[in-house]
Amino acid sequence: MPTVLPLKKQPFSFVGPVSAAAGAFAGLFVGTAQGSGLLGILLGGALMAGLAYGLMTLELPRRATRWGIAAVFALIGLMVGGVMGLIVGTAFGAFFGWFPLWLADGRYRAGLPPYLTAGEVLWHYAFRVICGMIFFFLIAPIVVVMPLSFNAENFFTFTPEMLRLDPAGYSMQHYEDFFQSGDWQAALRNSLTIAPVATLLAVSFGTLAAIGLSSEHVPFRQAIMAILISPMIVPLIISAAGMYFFYSRIGLQGTYLGVVLAHAALGIPFVIITVTATLVGFDRSLTRAAANMGANPVTTFFRVQMPLILPGVISGGLFAFITSFDEVVVVLFVGSASQKTLPWQMFIGLREQISPTILAVATILVCLSIALLTTLELLRRRSEKLRGMSPG
């Protein structure tokens, strides 16, 4: 967006406090890591205000100054925290060599509409910072697990070697353990045999139910829908306890079939919901047209209706798969030790022996989930494009 107003230079009375605030924020983390958060805030704030003042009053060659500041920060980081400190220091130095001048030049208004008030500009950036922090809050616990899974020791601890980025502090031993241990491999095998079958059942029944429930002539549609969706709403532990006693009576408790059926019941609501949503956009006159041309209902379903609702069916199936793959409560009740799934093995592993093998498995599962969700997103985009809802 072209700016109508020329960029206005800002006085130190504005740049100084803002830089100090940013410095205090950074200082909070550095200070906490070094022992005193409060001291970090004060020092960071003072340092950045001073830096801003220096940058504004001395007319130094900009590029060189910025490199210089980054280098100084990197050196301090290296002395304090080794290789890791070097990386953090460089990042901080690069940011704080740029930030005060960015403020002082008024460049922060460059991309924004010129009529915004100061408050609106502040909110524009505050909003981005808040979003970034929420994102960090959501993702940090998952990301922190990944380097820990390469730990050379048997604890959930960032060892000094790891923080120095010393290769000796890292190893693949927990991944090896996962691929070589009989317990983990049996659990993986169980998960990989239970989840697909449960998904297949959930998709078949869920799709049929959704199609039936979306035709007007079915009586008590709302009530049936509510019952079918209930496994998603009822607390899992209640379903699990109920299933345990019911399955014990009919001899399904502790069998492969029992676990598959239980997981299928948990997956069906997801399929019903996604397929019902796709059916809303489905034009019923297409099935009548097909019938008109002599196709029987089965042919109509497979040649006309199914291809059009397929994205909904697949995304429902993916949810059903993930549900079965991640599920621990129901399988603890309905399964026995010979149906031990991956989440079960992780659960007992965490309780009895905190071993980073769990983190290695968690990392593998996270990658798998990301792959599945990416597929889901790509399918969704494709279906939107097919329906002409998105210009892309």
Partner: protein, 368 residues
């Protein structure tokens, strides 16, 4: 994988050649234990050699001992007992026996006698604390401390836990009154043999909680045996209580800077119970396995893999070296004379009577 298919192949052979055995005893056995290093020691010492002798048997391990009481109740209610042999602590065995969920047994009938001919009943002695309980190991709950966080004077006395001046920092204690109350009273000046008399009175319970109050802000409460080793390895706590085998693993196997504080360790027992309601074939198999797995040599073998003391007197002289590290295991046993100078034995009767009351009091104190 290879092992399983070998089992399957040999099962097929065994079925073909020895139909008599296959008819009498079930060939599948589900054993419930605690997981981790302890379960591994049982697999190495008991089930692997047993399966080598009886290749037709497949053993499935279920790591559910923690919730064994609740699960056995549910199984009993559902009329579907899926476990054949369950490893529990003595207190749980007493409860299960009282509720009729565990089978009573006759030691001399079920268990092997010692090599010198001593009867099983005498060999296990007082450790058979319930008619259903087949003792296996003696373990203790005791303290470990970070050697690099206690300065030049490492603690030798359990009351160091309550001494925030000499040993500042967080402590890890188990999130239940058992053991903590006893240690609190002992360090508040109550004589060791009067602890349970005092603890039986409401004033005594308040006294123990008041002592715990002095360190409450510095306590991290743990509930799984793996928590304290992790906290110690992290340096999150300066000292913490856990099972002595876990501390052995942290110190000797994982080489962490942790020291052992044996003073006032609390002995407890762990062993097997047979669930009530097994079919004849299942019971026959379990009995055959137990006769083997609780004999003098097998109990001594288990100590090669974990530092818990065998429950048979006749096993003690046979305790040898660690299976991988080759160090002598005897000095790491809680029952070693050097370690057992000042100890306490878990008082099963007291806690059976007072557990519910003191638990409630402890929990409400926790949230204050």
């Amino acid at each position: 994988m290879k092992l399983t298919s070998a089992f399957l192949a040999s099962t097929a052979l065994a079925v073909a050649f020895s139909p008599a055995v296959a008819q009498e005893m079930s060939n599948e056995m589900t054993i419930v234990s605690w997981g981790g290093a302890y379960q591994r020691s049982q697999q190495e010492a008991y089930s692997k050699p047993y399966v080598e002798m009886h290749p037709e048997v497949t053993v499935t391990w279920d790591e559910s001992s923690n919730e064994a009481v609740a699960k056995l109740r549910a199984m009993n209610e559902a009329g579907n007992i899926t476990w054949d042999l369950v490893d529990v602590v003595a207190a749980d065995a007493i409860r299960l026996c009282d509720e009729g969920l565990a089978m009573e047994y006759d030691p001399d009938d079920l268990l092997a006698e010692a090599p010198d001919g001593t009867s099983a009943e005498d060999d296990f002695g007082d450790l058979i604390v319930s008619d259903c309980f087949i003792p296996q190991i003696v373990y203790s709950t005791t303290f470990g401390y970070r050697t690099d966080m206690v300065g030049d004077t490492p603690p030798t006395d359990v009351c160091a836990v309550f001494d925030l001046e000499a040993y500042p920092g967080k402590r890890a204690l188990e999130k239940r009154p058992i053991n903590n109350m006893e240690w609190a009273l002992y360090c508040d000046g109550v004589a060791k043999d009067e602890i349970y008399d005092v603890l039986a009175t409401p004033e005594g319970q308040d006294q123990a909680l008041a002592k715990l109050d002095t360190i409450k802000d510095d306590v991290i409460w743990w509930s799984a045996g793996a928590d304290t080793p992790q906290l110690l390895a992290d340096g999150e706590v300066v000292m913490g209580s856990t099972y002595n085998g876990r501390l052995f693993s942290v110190i000797v196997e994982q080489n962490q800077p942790v020291g052992m504080l044996w003073d006032m360790q609390v002995f407890d027992l762990d062993g097997w119970i047979i669930p009530e309601g097994l079919s004849d074939e299942e019971l026959a198999r379990v009995k055959d396995f137990l006769f083997f797995a609780t004999d003098t040599q097998r109990l001594a073998d288990q100590a090669k893999y974990i530092s818990y003391g065998p429950a048979r007197q006749s096993s003690a002289p046979l305790v040898g070296e660690h299976a991988d590290l080759g160090i002598a295991m005897a000095p790491h046993m809680p029952t070693d004379p050097d370690n057992a100078k000042n100890t306490l034995l878990y008082n099963y009767e007291f806690w059976a009577d007072y557990r519910d009351d003191i638990d409630a009091k402890f929990q409400s104190w926790l949230v204050q």
